[in-house]
């Protein structure tokens, strides 16, 4: 990439964010060059206390997850009761305001989006809360699990003989954070001609917007999706044991099973009783056994690379450790070095999502300490509270 001005250079974003999704969305705007100011209460974003902690300096430990979600920002801490006027002044210098992940954030800061819009007609105001800020469930409490449940996703996750199973870790964060980032950009583009907007995002609906097959299956044919049966075609992408781990393979019209039989060196797989997905589901145990025998001593990565080189749709289950060492990701410079040390060593996190030919992503600054830039940005308040807390 060649040096061109960052896309959001000159755009100021104020973030009233606690949790994960809103901070991620704000950081992604910061990655594009926006001047992001994270405004926290005197207690600070709760993510600051999430372990493990990295070492920024002697006697200075900070949450690694908070760092990942909050670099490229400056930080101000305010007392919502006493400093409301200061917040309004700050907003009058901003083009975007992000509020979330909790519905209670509006009450904490005494904000009414209608009044905000009237006071700042050119501002892009985006809220990001579990159910949205209007409607009978707006104030409902939520976690990643309950949001995956309300979104419809959970109803077909897991095994038919067991119970609904969520996606691992905290996926609602990313579904909502990525959505909030792009929608804010669209609103900014529109604001040049059409003025500000209020965008009330529901995290539950972000997940539900994935159901582009499940929703029409019901609405167009009456078919109700459910958890996967125990006996399915083993060659439809689900993890299969191989050596010390798991691999996956997917047979399609363009990648016939004979290619896979050749590759694993067991022609039984090419026999006609395994030719169709239905037939393989019927003979699932036999297909799995052929695989188990053929791949007993195989490294999952070797299977994946060898099969892929032959044009077979293949995968292998990777851990975080493997991803960090992945030669492909490293060739694409996906990971960037983070500040300080973690467990005594430098540490890296993913920083590049899509590669733009003329616009790079830079990590310009570490996540702010609580109130680190209060004096710089709002001097009146800064003289009252000084930076310091983790």
């Amino acid at each position: 990439m060649t040096g061109s001005a960052a896309p959001l250079d000159g755009v100021r974003v104020v973030e009233l964010g606690v949790g994960l999704a809103t901070p991620l969305a704000a950081r992604m705007l910061g990655d594009l060059g926006a001047d992001v100011i994270k405004v926290e209460t005197l207690e600070g974003d709760r993510t600051r206390s999430v372990a493990p902690f990295y070492r920024a300096a002697e006697d200075d430990e900070r949450s690694a997850l908070f760092e990942y979600l909050n670099y490229n920002k400056r930080g101000v801490s305010l007392d919502p009761g006493a400093d409301r006027g200061v917040l309004d002044e700050l907003l009058s210098t901003a083009q975007v305001l992000l509020i979330g992940d909790d519905f209670a954030q509006l009450a904490t800061w005494g904000l009414d989006v209608g009044e905000l819009r009237a006071a700042h007609p050119d501002l892009v105001i985006e809220t990001l809360t579990p159910y949205g800020i209007t409607g009978p469930k707006a104030a409902w409490k939520a976690t990643d699990l309950t949001m995956q449940a309300a979104s419809g996703l959970l109803s077909f996750g897991g095994n038919a003989e067991r119970y609904p199973l969520k996606r691992g870790l905290r996926q609602s964060t990313f579904e909502a954070g990525l959505t909030a980032a792009y929608v804010a950009e669209a609103a900014l583009l529109g604001a040049r001609e059409h003025g500000g907007t209020v965008i009330d995002i529901s995290i539950v609906e972000c997940i539900a917007s994935e159901l582009v097959l499940t929703i029409p299956e019901y609405a167009f044919t009456g078919a109700v999706s459910t958890r996967r049966p125990t006996v399915i075609d083993p060659l439809s992408g689900d993890p299969l044991p191989a050596g010390p781990g798991y691999v996956s393979a997917q047979i399609t019209i363009l990648t016939p099973i004979s290619n896979l039989a050749d590759f694993i060196g067991d022609q039984r797989l090419a026999e006609p009783q395994y030719a169709t997905p239905e037939a393989r589901a019927t003979h699932a145990a036999e297909v799995a056994e052929i695989f188990r025998e053929a791949l007993a001593d195989v490294q999952p990565r070797d299977f994946f690379e060898g099969a892929s080189e032959r044009g077979i749709l293949a995968g292998f289950v990777q851990t975080a450790d493997q991803l960090l060492e992945c030669p492909h990701l490293n060739a694409r410079e996906v990971f960037r070095t983070m500040p300080g040390t973690l467990n005594g060593r430098p540490w890296r996190m993913p920083a590049v999502t899509a590669s733009l030919s003329r616009t790079g992503v830079t990590i310009r600054r570490a996540a702010p300490l609580l109130g680190e830039h209060t004096s710089e940005l709002v001097p009146d308040v800064g003289s009252r509270t000084e930076a310091g807390a983790r």
Partner: protein, 450 residues
């Protein structure tokens, strides 16, 4: 009945943006429809003799499960993923077809494609080629592994990528094997990330006047969604294990069976206050006042077993406990929250009105963001689009005569109806609901509500 959806006449924030969509299946087509929701004009260019997999086949639920005829026009997934677009059917294997496409791209702001990289190189239509006549052009290429790196030549689909991307390792029942959860998560991560990159390129173009190329490899989105695991790996702390529905930051979280068939409620007890509330609620099933979490979970399960999921969730929420019914699509359609927010968009398909998943936000301002229209019929806009790039009626007639432009798929049998009962027996579907029309009638907003 009209092609346009209600409210489509109010311009969106991206009004004036012209998009040429050469992509198929999920990720990239969805990107383009979400741009259409935002007001962009999107032209989907389709080949004459190969249908988008969402027009027919396993990924294409046809209206009323009807096969035959022009079944490629009535798939619900196609209308969800291609809403608001126009369709031009053009044979790009012929040089004449490619020259029409070049004319179209010369008038466009953005091209989105997910071909195997060698295809556009072979046609001399890479971004570097196209900017020689349209320097403002932005182009997004969506591939499995991106354009560089040792795996860039590998084939990929969402399903095969998912394991390799990392999240599968951290999804599953306690002590059990890794599991893929959901349909094709990488596709949606790619759709949202792609939009983030496209809009960044548009912002940048405002300053520089120049377009740029976006290399979107889905695989590299894997690490982005597992930061906790990446941090744990480098901190030398314990890796997050597969542990069902147990969450960080909660004392207890799981799903509990309720009264009814496949009726479940998800509950998360986040702190001692919530724990105390649940103890109060389920007291009749407890032997003492201070149950451990295992006993509390067992009692909660007894309590939920005589309630509907929604009643259980309401009761828990009214005591300040995070809970939600495990919703199926029917429940979502009838959910007062989603109804209040008009989450579903409604489009007219072949004489009836059907819901598709809408935008996950309520947008208030002088612009509107909404599904602008149903998806296009195969080749529905051939004439309109061809005229828009200056072709005369005679030239268009010649293109049709040479089968460069066609109005019905060439050498493709109409999609067959699915054997839904067999799919129920195979466990793909739980049942085929017979009351869908009643549910939709109840769910659909009345005209006066917009």
């Amino acid at each position: 009945m009209s092609r346009e959806a209600a409210g489509a006449d109010v311009p969106g924030p991206l009004a004036g943006l012209k998009v040429v969509d050469l992509s198929t299946v999920f990720a990239a087509p969805y990107m383009c429809s979400l741009l259409s929701d935002l007001g962009a004009e999107v032209i989907k260019v389709e080949p004459p003799s190969k249908l988008d997999q969402t027009r027919g086949g396993a990924l294409a639920p046809a209206l009323g499960n009807e096969g035959g005829g022009d079944g490629w026009n009535w798939s619900g997934s196609f209308h969800s993923l291609n809403r608001g677009k126009r369709s031009l059917v053009l044979d790009l294997k012929q040089e004449t077809g490619r020259s029409v496409l070049r004319r179209l791209i010369d008038t466009a702001d953005l091209v989105v494609e997910n071909f195997t990289p060698r295809v556009l190189r072979g046609w001399g239509m890479t971004h570097a080629d196209l900017v020689t006549t349209n320097p403002r052009l932005i182009m997004l290429s969506n591939t499995g592994y991106g354009a560089t790196g040792p795996w860039s030549g590998f084939k990929a689909q969402g399903t095969s990528l998912e394991s390799t991307m990392g999240l599968v390792e951290y999804s599953g029942y306690p002590g059990d094997k890794p599991r893929k959860v959901g349909q094709s998560y990488p596709d949606f991560l790619a759709a949202w990330t792609g939009l983030y990159a496209i809009l960044a390129a548009l912002e940048e173009r405002h300053r520089s006047g120049q377009g740029q190329w976006i290399d979107l490899g889905m695989y590299q989105l894997g690490p982005v969604v597992i930061p906790e695991a990446l941090i744990a790996a480098q901190a030398g702390s314990e890796q997050p294990s597969r542990r069902g529905n147990a969450e960080d930051d909660t004392l207890l979280s799981d799903v509990f069976a309720c009264q009814g068939v496949e009726a479940w409620v998800a509950v998360a007890i986040e702190d001692d206050a919530a724990r105390g509330q649940v103890v109060e609620l389920v007291r009749e099933h407890l032997s003492g006042d201070d149950p451990d979490l295992d006993e509390l979970a067992r009692a909660l399960g007894q309590w939920t077993s005589s309630r509907s999921p929604e009643d259980a969730a309401q009761a828990l929420q009214s005591h300040g406990v995070a809970a939600a019914a495990v919703a199926e699509v029917r429940d979502m359609l009838l959910d007062p929250q989603m109804q209040h927010r008009h989450f579903f968009d409604w489009v007219d398909i072949k004489g009836v009105t059907r819901p598709i998943p809408g935008t996950p936000y309520v947008w208030t301002g002088s612009t509107a963001v909404t599904s602008r229209a149903r998806g296009p019929l195969f080749g529905e806009d051939n004439d309109v689009v061809l005229r828009s790039v200056g072709l005369t009626d005679e030239e268009i007639e010649t293109l049709r005569r040479d089968a460069v432009v066609v109005d019905t798929p060439l050498n493709i049998a109409p999609p067959r109806s699915k054997d839904l009962d067999a799919l129920v027996r195979a466990g793909v579907y739980r049942e085929i609901a017979t009351d869908v029309d009643e549910v939709l009638a109840q769910a659909r907003p009345r005209a006066d509500e917009g």
